[in-house]
Amino acid sequence: MSKQNPGALRRFWRFLRRPSAKFALLTLLVVGFFGGIIFWGGFNTGMEATNQLEFCISCHEMRDYVYKEYQQTIHYSNRTGVRAICSDCHVPHAWIPKIIRKIQASQEVWGKITGYIDTPEKFEAHRMAMATKEWARMKAANSQECRNCHSFDAMSGDVQKQSVYKKHMAAKDAGQTCIDCHKGIAHHLPKEYRDPNEEE
């Protein structure tokens, strides 16, 4: 019975599997090739659009709070005119880690819908938790997003301040990574944060 009247899904599957009697193989290849380029190009263009600064600050949670803080830092304005935007630090550059991060970011969309940090008070209340999570992500990736631009090996003892160079080389020898010391460089530190170097 089921063989005589298959369901819609099964019929569609059979249609997909049946060799085409109407279109030449070359036609199918050419259409498939260009269709693939259009799909892949569209997908990546869309994904890159979500990496733009304008996209990030299209939500008031970013525009009114963290973006204003970032505008006062060296990663926004500096002597050399090189700017690191949100995605440079918060989204991996390599494709697979980037996709994983984008999927994780769907949680942030839910946060936007539910108003998780839609007031300055709520933002401050969650700042420590959010920062801790991001610091852990950066640490797990060996500060890869920092190291896309900075590296211990490229630091010059002739140009860098002596005390800073000494600290950097000590950190390198100790196997430390950027985020171990450089927290809150583009945003305010959470009020609950305590510097491990601090002594009361």
């Binding site: 006062q72 002596q162 005390s163 530190l189 009020k191 170097n197 601090e198």
Partner: protein
């Protein structure tokens, strides 16, 4: 004439007392949490500690050095905002980090940080 001078001296002393009073109340109004937050944000604790000498002197030692000096606050504000040379334990000198605030160049935050150090 003597009466006039005596009157003038009284006014001077009164003004000095008022100034001292203001200074004392300013120290008393130090927001330690805000000062420490600014220090953390500027990585001050990488080179300084409250009790211990690191690359920079202990804050308590700084307070001790400037105790009773009239220009203590002004001097320390200049030290952390001008990028003047600081001497390190190994003898070399380099520019002291300029403390930044948010909003930028908020002197009340700088003053509070200096007053906190002087209060230790």
């Amino acid at each position: 004439m003597n009466q006039l001078m005596s009157h003038g001296r009284k006014i001077t002393i009164a003004l000095m007392c008022a100034g001292f009073g203001i200074s004392l109340s300013a120290r008393a109004d130090v927001d330690a949490d805000a000062a420490k937050a600014l220090a953390r944000q500027n990585n001050c604790f990488k080179c300084h500690a409250v009790d211990k000498d690191k690359d920079g002197p202990a804050y308590k030692k700084v307070a001790e050095k400037y105790k009773g000096k009239d220009n203590a606050e002004t001097r320390l504000i200049e030290h952390i905002t001008s990028g003047e040379k600081a001497k390190f334990p190994d003898g070399h000198e380099e520019e002291h980090k300029i403390v930044k605030t948010s909003p930028p160049k908020d002197m009340s935050q700088i003053k509070n940080l200096v007053d906190w150090i002087l209060s230790l």
